[in-house]
Symmetry: C2
Subunit: 129 residues, 2 copies
Amino acid sequence: MAKPATKLSEQVRRGELYTVDCPSRGVLKHVTSLWGVLVLITLRSGTHRFSDLRRKAKGVSEKMLAQTLQGLEADGFVDRKSHPVVPPHVEYSLTPLGREASSQVESLVDWIEANLYQVMQARQRKQEI
Amino acid sequence: MAKPATKLSEQVRRGELYTVDCPSRGVLKHVTSLWGVLVLITLRSGTHRFSDLRRKAKGVSEKMLAQTLQGLEADGFVDRKSHPVVPPHVEYSLTPLGREASSQVESLVDWIEANLYQVMQARQRKQEI
DNA sequence: CCGCATCCGCGTTGATACTG
DNA sequence: CAGTATCAACGCGGATGCGG
């Protein structure tokens, strides 16, 4: 790749998340959206078709799933393979980069699930007041 | 209410994130929202006032900051101390639970920032097609 | 039939103004 | 200073359409 290296390196410094128009905010949004999280985690177990993902990520609409996958694909986290057959067959899988990302996300989700009970207790305490 | 402890333990099992109405989805939403992330990370450096947070989390509106803080407080991640003086003085800090959560979130954000350059390259590749 | 783009109600968000 | 009230704008979900 040629190299917009210089241009990028200016904007891409640590802590730039605090800057309103830093691209990291966009990446963060893709990765941490509910459907982004579910897709990344689901794909850890292997390649999935569109409809498989739709079934596993309970509650996602077709539109949001397509949108989510496009975002993750554009960011280089997900690989899309379309087989030109009838009926259509499209496979989604994690890229090496996506596998790293999904690992981070999974660890966050694991923590949340492990501590969910404490959170629920905290919520109830507030509600009683 | 006494304790729906039994009730919770049924619903709060690993992998329940895939269930549409599992509370973990709500927690995830609070924690991974853009403003949730910024607040959690910002508070790692110590107690902050409302306006401090507003200034550091660039781009957040007063409404969303208030809303975000209420959500994180309800979930037991953030502690709110209001000093009844004029002008008002309210301090926000992390609870022990919140400190753990923010640690997880920070590690995700660190990874994103560290790999942002690769993501930007992937985006450009797609755009060139 | 599957994958996705489009169009339309509606809830959530954001900018502004106002109050304790 | 720390929020709430208000209204406009945007994003999401659901239904529909359509090419492959």
